[in-house]
Structures are given as structure tokens and as C-alpha cells.
Amino acid sequence: MPISAAEPLLDIAGLSAGYGKIGVLHGVALSVGANEVVALLGPNGAGKTTLLRAVSGLLPWSGRVHFAGRDLAGTSPRDTVRAGLAHVIEGHRVFTQLAVIDNLLLAAYDLSRGERTARVEEVFALFPEIAAKRRERAVALSGGQQQILAVAQGLVRRPRLLMLDEPSAGLSPVLVDRVLVVVRRLREAGTAVLLVEQLIEKALALADRVYALARGSIVLEAKTGEADLPQRLEHAYLATAHRHA
């Protein structure tokens, strides 16, 4: 569905957020276009998870966040999901006591029963490995399969933008590749992706554009094709960039 060329799908400006008294993000600006995969990189503690949580409404924030032309100020996670913005949180946290199919049905909680089953079947078609285990409890799945299930949960509502928080964390290289194949397929299917990742090379291989976040603000924005990107990233992470400015 086309939106005006001027405004990106997700448009963030001057975003600040934190936990209680601790300010983590200071005036972040970032955008994701309708068919893009954007990677968000940065060292630990930079605020990447905080950023995703703020956008999806899990944390209070100040600043400006627009999604598909709509102002997200004060929206709850439930409403952001309804608006088409899905957030797969870090740590493949699925509901271990429920069956795989029930995990997916819950993701479609707000839909009518017919819609629910239809969407879940759609998602099963995308991920045969968990479709095979549909009746098993999620606790029986391996870490990688649980991560795929978590991503599948995010897709049940056919979001326009999917935010993934470190989908590779704690997974073996084989499973990491498996998960990232899914991300590539998403872009082909027309879903935009905002990907927070620790594995820089893999993220760069997938993404169209990349941002680097350090100490709560964006220190780098580039297209992935650019030549000196690896060095610039290293510099952004490890160097005392603020002092040399």
C-alpha cells in the first residue's frame, strides 16, 4: 500500500526515553521506509532495546514518533500492533506452557475466530519447521525454533513494519542463518523490517540502510553499500567520537 513518498513508514525525531531516573535515549532520529530493511547497530548499553520498546509503547517516551502517518504518542502496545507495527522482543520469549499453535493464536487475540485461524495457517506456511510441531508445547522447541516462533508471532497480524530485537542472540550460527533467511523473505513479501543486531556482518548483508546508536544517540547513518562502512562503524563504537567532534 503506497504512502506519500515524502514521509517514511516509521519516522522518529527527538526521541528521549529511559527507566525511571536513568535517561537512556537522548534525541534519537531514525526512519524506516516502506520496503526497507534497516539495521540498528551499537554497543551494549547504547539503548537499542530501549528504542524499540519506546516505539512499540512498552516504555514512556517524549519526542515524535509517526507510523504510517499516525502519531504514536501515548499508544499502548496493543494499539501499535493494531496499527501494523509488530515488535518481537529479545530473548525468544514465547509462552512455554502453551502449544505452538496456541502461541500463534494468542498473537491474533483481537481478530475474529475465522480470521485468526486463517492468519495462523498463513504463518505456518511460511515456517514449515514449526508447523510440524504445531501441537507440541513451546517448551519442547529448541532455542532457534522458539526464536522462529517468536518471529512468527510477530507476523500473524501481517504487520507493515516488524521490529526484531537481536533475533540471533544465544543461537548457533546455523540457526542464526535460518532466522535471517526469514528476514530476507519478509522484505521480499513487502514487510519493512527494523533489525537490532549484534552480528554486524550478517546485519550488513541483509540491510538496505544502517544506523549506529551509541550512548543514547545516533552516531552514524549510512547505506550498506558504502565503501568505508566497517571502519566508520568501528570508529563509532570504540572511539571517543564526542571528543573528536
Binding site: V81, L106, Y109
Partner: protein, 285 residues
């Protein structure tokens, strides 16, 4: 004699188990224990007597009204005593807020209904004796609740949503589940279960405001021994408690039976703070 001990013990054990389940349902939804569980049991008996015996409302309607009242008081608990303190820094305020609410309702009942135990109406017009309804009504209630909860949690979307909230509230929220409504619904359900316990056990416990503290304590023992949030453990522990209490009653008399129950409870709890079935929690810095 043995027959009497067993039937009374099991019946009262079922009431305790149901209050334990009330605690558990509230705990699953909010990670918090509420002093209002015993109060709900008391209300089941008092309101049942009020509606059916005093106001003459027909049995089925009165019963449904009691359940509705339970649901309402459950939701009041959530709104007034639980939701406001979940956000606060001091984690233990919920003990005090739910205690305050329970006391308010208990005292109001004492003033308006009276401080004496009043009889609870006989629900079915069958002659007394043998396996009397005052024994099998609580047992029936317990079975219905267990079966109903099993059905709810295993086979309905809402039940799954309750389990999701209980397991990982944050992930449930991120997924877009309506966390607040689900919590309120859980508390309403807990209210219904508590009121049902009091209603079914009305003939045994009588309509008495003093049932509140009694059920608060004896209804918690199944939770402590069976493990937090563990409904099956609560049922087993509740039945054992009921039988133990009636046996002790018979052997050493009412007062010392309470001492016996309390002593055993404390000893078991100190030995296994997480309950006989529970796993120990891992502390994190």
C-alpha cells in the same frame, strides 16, 4: 465416627482448597497475594443467606447474584487494592492495601449483618442425614471449579491468555494482549470462585462475618503447602488440611486442633518455604 470425620474433613477441605484456588488465580494474574480471598468466601455465605433466606429470592437467582457479587468484589480488589500498588516502588504495599480492603468489607458486614453467626438456608429440600448436602455441595463445587478451570486453561483462547499473562506479563503485553482487561477478568473469576466456596459451604460455616479471617488463614495453607499458583497442589493440600483438622478436632478438641494445624503448618513452611511441590526461586542481582 470415622465416616463423620472423613465427610466433614473432605467437605471443609474442599472449601479451603477453593479459597486457595482463589488466591492462586489472583496471584497468577498479578504476582501478588490478596487478603481478600477469605473475605470473598465469607461474602458467599453471608450474601447467600441474605438473598435467599432473608429476602426470599429464588434459589437459582440468588445463587447467580452471589456469584455476580463475587465477581464485582474481585474486580474491586483489582482496581482499588492491586492495580495502584503494582506500579509503586515499594513491593509490599499490596499486603496492606488488600488487608485494608478486606477489613473494610468484613467490618461493614459485622455492622450491617451482625456479629453473630446466622444459619444458612438449606438449599435443597432433602432430609438430613447420611451423606448430607452440606458435605457434598462443597465437594461438588470443588469438582466443578477444577473441571471448569481445566477447560478454561486448556481449551479456550481467554484461558490461554490468562496463562500467558501468568507466565510472562511483559511478553504478553508486547504481543498486544489486553493485559489490563485480562487481569480484571482474572480477578473477577477469582471472586466468583471465592463466593462459590462460601455459598457451597454456607451450611457448614454459617453466615458469619468471622469466617473472613478464618478462611484467610485456612485458605492460604493449601497455597503455601501446595506451591504458589499450583491449583492441583492446593486441592491436595486443602483436602489433607481438612482431614487433619477434623481428626485433631476429634482427638484433642477444637482449640488444640487449631494449635496443631498451625504448628504443623509453620514447621512445614520453615522446612520448605516454597511449598511441598514448589521449586526454589533463583535470586538475581
Amino acid at each position: 465416627m470415622v465416616e463423620s470425620i472423613v465427610s466433614t474433613g473432605l467437605a471443609i477441605g474442599c472449601i479451603y482448597a477453593l479459597i486457595g484456588i482463589t488466591y492462586n488465580v489472583m496471584f497468577s494474574a498479578s504476582r501478588v497475594f490478596s487478603f481478600t480471598a477469605g473475605m470473598l468466601g465469607m461474602l458467599g455465605g453471608v450474601l447467600g443467606a441474605l438473598f435467599i433466606a432473608r429476602l426470599g429470592i429464588p434459589l437459582v437467582v440468588g445463587f447467580l447474584l452471589v456469584l455476580a457479587a463475587g465477581a464485582i468484589f474481585g474486580v474491586i480488589t483489582e482496581i482499588v487494592a492491586v492495580r495502584p500498588v503494582l506500579k509503586s516502588l515499594d513491593q509490599h504495599l499490596y499486603v496492606l492495601s488488600t488487608l485494608a480492603l478486606a477489613l473494610m468489607v468484613q467490618q461493614f458486614t459485622a455492622i450491617e449483618w451482625g456479629t453473630e453467626a446466622r444459619p444458612f438456608p438449606r438449599l435443597f429440600d432433602i432430609a438430613r442425614g447420611g451423606f448430607d448436602q452440606q458435605f457434598w455441595l462443597p465437594m461438588l463445587a470443588c469438582i466443578v471449579v477444577i473441571a471448569g478451570l481445566e477447560l478454561l486453561y486448556r481449551h479456550t483462547l481467554v484461558g490461554h491468555a490468562f496463562l500467558a499473562i501468568a507466565e510472562d506479563t511483559f511478553a504478553a503485553r508486547a504481543l498486544g494482549l489486553p493485559e489490563r482487561s485480562l487481569r480484571m477478568a482474572s480477578f473477577a473469576l477469582a471472586g466468583v470462585i471465592g463466593a462459590l466456596a462460601g455459598f457451597a459451604g454456607g451450611e457448614m460455616l454459617l453466615a458469619f462475618f468471622g469466617n473472613a479471617p478464618l478462611l484467610t488463614f485456612y485458605g492460604f495453607v493449601p497455597v503455601a503447602l501446595g506451591g504458589m499458583g499450583n491449583n492441583r497442589g492446593a486441592v491436595v493440600a486443602g483436602l489433607l488440611l481438612g482431614l487433619f483438622q477434623q481428626t485433631a478436632n476429634f482427638l484433642v478438641g477444637g482449640i488444640f486442633a487449631s494449635v496443631a494445624v498451625f504448628t504443623v503448618f509453620i514447621i512445614v513452611l520453615l522446612a520448605r518455604p516454597e511449598g511441598l511441590a514448589g521449586a526454589s526461586a533463583q535470586r538475581r542481582v
